[in-house]
């Protein structure tokens, strides 16, 4: 032993000492896991090195291994005083959906860096959405930028490499108006986080030459201490490149950026609470120019068939990348051959550093010279750092000293499965009776809703992103003559000489989850599907991704709410026939500062992202009204479902029932709508989501400044007030515009499905909603636009 690695005294350590070792070294391993490690080294008859302990901690981290999702959970659901118990393994519930649906379009799911679905005869679409929450809370610009850089590398590292064609971004921030004095020590102001995060995503995506075209922003005080940053990337990959195989004697090549002391402990840090005094080293700083060069040269090397397998260096750095690639073989790495930014790095730091812009390739020895020459010709640094070996062992050397020797079987299969308990009590939510006088004028309420930061225009963010680069974007995030109306989805044309396209959309609504995570899951799934379909995607050709961001899952009830949300995902994805192709969880998003008595968790948040096939991008549909005099219909039924709605939040009300998705009625409606859009009977379409019919109608009307005049009389029912019709967020609804000479054909095709005549595109520049002959809402398009643009001016 020459002393480059130090020994960690685990064999012989007491349970208390094991916990202390885990805490002190930021390993995020619990006692059961530490005991398993002690047992392994007891059998070997030696103490582990620091490098070995760190390797195990990275591989077994919540971020890399998803311990909670793989745990056996004894789940108790309480409804009306009655308890129902069941055993759940969350990851199995999600993966079983895809298996049960058996969709032929799923090419590679849940086994690689991203999911791949078939696009056409030759190509697949690879899609992945990641989170970068803790880094963005601490250093918003760097955290969000490297989140984008990381998910782009996931796409570069799926199969034998996909080419990124689109980025997506979804953010959850605290309320913009909070005063600095209300913030706990160590927490950045939501305004600062917002600006930094948007700049980080903008700079990384724009500099990489990848359009950013779909997203959402949620504001709620629950995210004040712990913002959420979801970054997604869609790529195109030849189907012949969708698989990878690491061969036993391949060389290990690391390419791209150099390794430094940045991002040390990122994987394990993501599993701990946020608090004051976080070390500088957990922050990663990105360099998109390096990644752009890396991306371009990898695609060239892929097409020249110069390597057998590839993956990215993400959380856990080389430890995770080489460890996962060599799981079925074994690997031998010489850490002193890794190109470094800083020569003072210790072996374990080199091994787990999360320095950005690095990829690992498995290269046959006969091709390595050509590969290195190609990388050098593009000014991308690459180095051979070792070899995959059929030894079943991970062996690391530093200057001829063996600093790590771990059995792959133990490393990847030795983690004890967790047994957890979870409980959720279903609250019985009732709608207050709609007795009493309805409000006479709802113009102010409608304008108030439009100005809500959760609904208002995201133009200030969207326009910072390049959504044109690569010239594949057909339906852009803002549409209409003056680019004012928000699109439901972005539509891309992945292959330049083909009109076949893909729609990418999302669904997110934590406000429903605060009342019932099960229905939130259904609503998010339906919203993502609705957005894709209203833009022209075929309902039977849509696939989805999940991202769960939850608080302290050591809390019985919070874990219960997560389990209930997963059950919702399972049931509604099956009902809507939507296979999950990839997913990610980010747990323990909570803050525990000096003055907080208990940890403050974020609202349980589910993001569903969807990718759907568009048969012909010339036959898609946008949201802005197109022709004066054409007819407006509401497709889908409206119920009194005000719980968690934007309108009740505006009124400060916490009661009401969360909207219930009704796939039995909605799916046939969507199928018909898709055919009406393709046949151009429907010339504009917008789904009703946050803010209900009112918000959707305003967004459609003000973009072309034609305005609209509609009546709610056809929707009137005894037990529902006009404002409830206007602001209810019932699912499965679309406002559609139909040309005036085609209404008979439209009504004939819609026979048997729920639809209601609303009114006309007026051409008067006003938005008028009448009920029983009197105006409920009467505002100018100009005032509506002013309100809609006022929400994000800080």
């Amino acid at each position: 032993m020459k002393g480059y690695a130090s020994r960690v005294k685990i064999v012989g350590a007491s349970d208390r000492e094991l916990c202390e070792i885990s805490r002190k070294n930021l390993l995020s391993l619990d006692l059961a896991e530490m005991k398993e490690i002690r047992k392994y080294f007891e059998a070997l008859g030696r103490q582990p090195t620091d490098c070995e302990i760190e390797t195990i901690a990275q591989t077994w981290s919540e971020h890399c291994y998803h311990k909670t999702f793989k745990a056996e959970i004894e789940y108790t659901e309480v409804e009306g005083g009655r308890e129902k118990k069941e055993k759940l393994v969350l990851i199995r519930e999600i993966m079983n959906v895809t298996q049960r649906l058996g969709a032929e379009r799923c090419v590679s799911v849940f086994k690689d860096n991203a999911g791949i679905v078939r696009f056409d005869r030759d190509n697949g679409m690879a899609f992945k959405v990641e989170t970068h929450n803790h880094p963005s809370a601490l250093e918003p610009y760097g955290g969000a930028g490297t989140g984008t850089g990381g998910v782009i590398r996931d796409i570069l590292g799926v199969g034998r490499g996909a080419f990124p064609i689109l980025n997506t971004d979804v953010f959850c921030f605290g309320m913009p108006g909070v005063s600095h004095s209300e913030l706990p020590a160590g927490v950045l102001h939501p305004g600062r986080i917002y600006k930094g995060v948007v700049s980080g995503v903008r700079d990384y995506g724009n500099r990489m030459g990848i359009p950013t075209g779909n997203g959402a922003i949620i504001f709620d005080r629950g995210y004040q201490n712990n913002p959420l940053v979801f970054c997604g990337t869609l790529g195109i990959i030849p189907l012949s490149m969708a698989d990878k195989i690491v061969c036993g004697d391949d060389l290990i090549v690391v390419a791209g950026g150099r390794t430094g002391r940045d991002g040390i402990h990122g994987a394990t840090f993501s599993s701990v609470k946020l608090a004051k005094d976080i070390p500088t080293s957990v922050v990663q700083i990105g360099n998109p120019i390096v990644e752009k060069k890396l991306m371009d040269v990898i695609i060239r090397a892929r097409d020249l068939n110069l390597y057998n397998a590839i993956t990215d260096c993400g959380a856990g750095g080389l430890s995770s990348a080489v460890g996962e690639m060599g799981e079925k073989t074994g690997a031998e790495v010489r850490l002193d051959d890794v190109p470094l930014k800083d020569s003072s790095l210790t072996p374990w730091e080199i091994w787990i550093s999360e320095s950005q812009e690095r990829m690992v390739l498995s290269v046959p020895s006969g091709k390595v010279e050509s590969l290195l020459a190609l990388f050098a010709s593009e000014d991308v640094e690459a180095a051979v750092i070792g070899r995959f070996r059929k030894t079943g062992s991970l062996d690391l050397y530093f200057k001829d000293e063996k600093v790590c020797s771990l059995g792959m079987k133990f490393l990847h299969g030795g983690i004890p499965r967790k047994n957890l308990k979870a409980r959720f009590e279903i609250r019985e939510e009732k709608e207050a009776p709609s007795a009493g006088r309805a409000k006479a004028d709802l113009s102010g309420d409608a304008l108030g809703l439009l100005a809500d930061p959760n609904i208002s225009s995201k133009e200030a963010v969207i326009t910072q992103y390049d959504h044109e680069v690569q010239s594949r974007t057909v339906l852009k995030p803002l549409v209409g003559m003056e680019k004012k109306a928000p699109s439901d989805a972005v539509v891309m044309r992945p292959v330049y000489d083909d009109y076949r396209g893909v729609a990418v959309s999302c669904g997110i609504n934590p406000f429903y989850g605060m009342k019932d995570p099960y229905l939130m899951a259904g609503c998010c799934i339906e919203e993502a599907l609705r957005n894709a379909v209203s833009s022209g995607a075929v309902p039977g050709e849509v696939s989805i991704l999940d991202n769960f961001c939850w608080g302290d899952v050591n809390d019985l009830n919070l874990l219960g709410s997560l389990a209930r949300c997963v059950k919702g995902c399972r049931d509604y994805a099956l009902a809507y026939r939507l296979p999950f192709i990839s997913g990610k969880d980010s747990l323990n998003n909570f803050f525990h500062g000096a003055v907080e008595e208990k940890p403050v968790s974020i609202p349980g948040t589910l993001l569903i992202s969807a990718v759907g096939i568009v048969r012909d991008v010339r036959k898609i549909c946008s949201t802005e009204l197109k022709r004066k005099g054409s007819l407006l219909y509401l497709c889908g039924m409206t119920f009194k479902e005000m719980g968690g709605s934007a309108y009740y939040r505006l009124l400060g009300r916490d009661d009401g029932r969360v909207p219930k998705p009704r796939p039995g009625e909605t799916l046939p409606l969507m199928e018909e709508l898709n055919s009406l859009i393709e046949d151009r009977l429907v010339i504009s379409c917008h789904d009703c989501s946050d803010g209900g019919l009112a918000a959707a109608l305003c967004e459609m009307s003000m973009s072309g400044e034609y305005g609209s005049e509609v009546s709610l009389d056809n929707l009137a029912e005894e037990k529902i007030l006009p404002e409830e019709i206007l602001f209810s967020e019932s699912q499965g609804r679309f406002i559609v515009e139909v040309e005036k000479n085609r209404e008979a054909e439209f009504e004939r095709r819609m026979k048997g499905k729920p639809y209601y005549f609303l009114g006309r595109v007026s051409g008067e520049g006003r938005i008028k909603v009448l009920f029983d002959g009197r105006p409920l809402v009467d505002v100018s398009c100009c005032d509506a636009e002013k309100a809609w643009r006022s929400g994000l001016t800080w």
Partner: protein
């Protein structure tokens, strides 16, 4: 061996977009009495460098001569009537702009041994005191997780 700083800033007749954006961020924290905010980019060179070599680097690599000007100095000068806040990366934080600047200088054929680090300098004027400037530095200009900062008043006296 010497240390020099190249300070790059907008020409007086040009709008200082970063300054305007920073001013807005300062207003957001409730300090509305600033008369002006301007931002300069700092490149600190250490090692085997001299002013003539740095002039070449500044003119060929660091500035856009249409809208920017530069100054080279061994010690940061003070400016009458202004508070200044200098923000630098903390030791160990990756400085990608510095790495690119060094690479560009070497591409120019400069073979000397030198190091580069980058920072920003903010000039603030108005009816503000040391407490306000400290608050601005912490809440708007620097993130103490990755940055160190120093505050000087118009006499050049360092407050932190």
């Amino acid at each position: 061996m010497a240390n020099y700083t190249i300070e790059v800033r907008s020409k007086k007749e040009m709008p200082d977009i970063s300054g305007l954006e920073t001013a807005r961020g300062i207003e957001d924290i409730g300090i509305a009495c600033l008369e002006s905010v301007s931002v300069a980019w700092l490149y600190r060179f250490g090692g085997d460098v001299c002013p003539s070599m740095l002039r070449e680097i500044a003119e060929q690599v660091l500035i856009d001569p249409v809208i920017q000007e530069y100054e080279i100095y061994p010690d940061s000068p003070c400016k009458d009537g202004f508070w200044t806040v200098e923000v630098w990366f903390r030791k160990g934080v990756t400085d990608t702009v510095a790495a690119t600047a060094a690479e560009a200088a070497r591409d120019m054929g400069i073979g000397a041994s030198f190091s580069v680090s980058t920072g920003r300098k903010y000039y603030l004027s108005g009816q503000i005191g040391a407490g306000d400037v400290d608050s601005i530095a912490r809440k708007v200009l620097a993130n103490e997780l990755i940055h160190d900062f120093t505050i000087s008043d118009f006499t050049g006296q360092i407050k932190k």
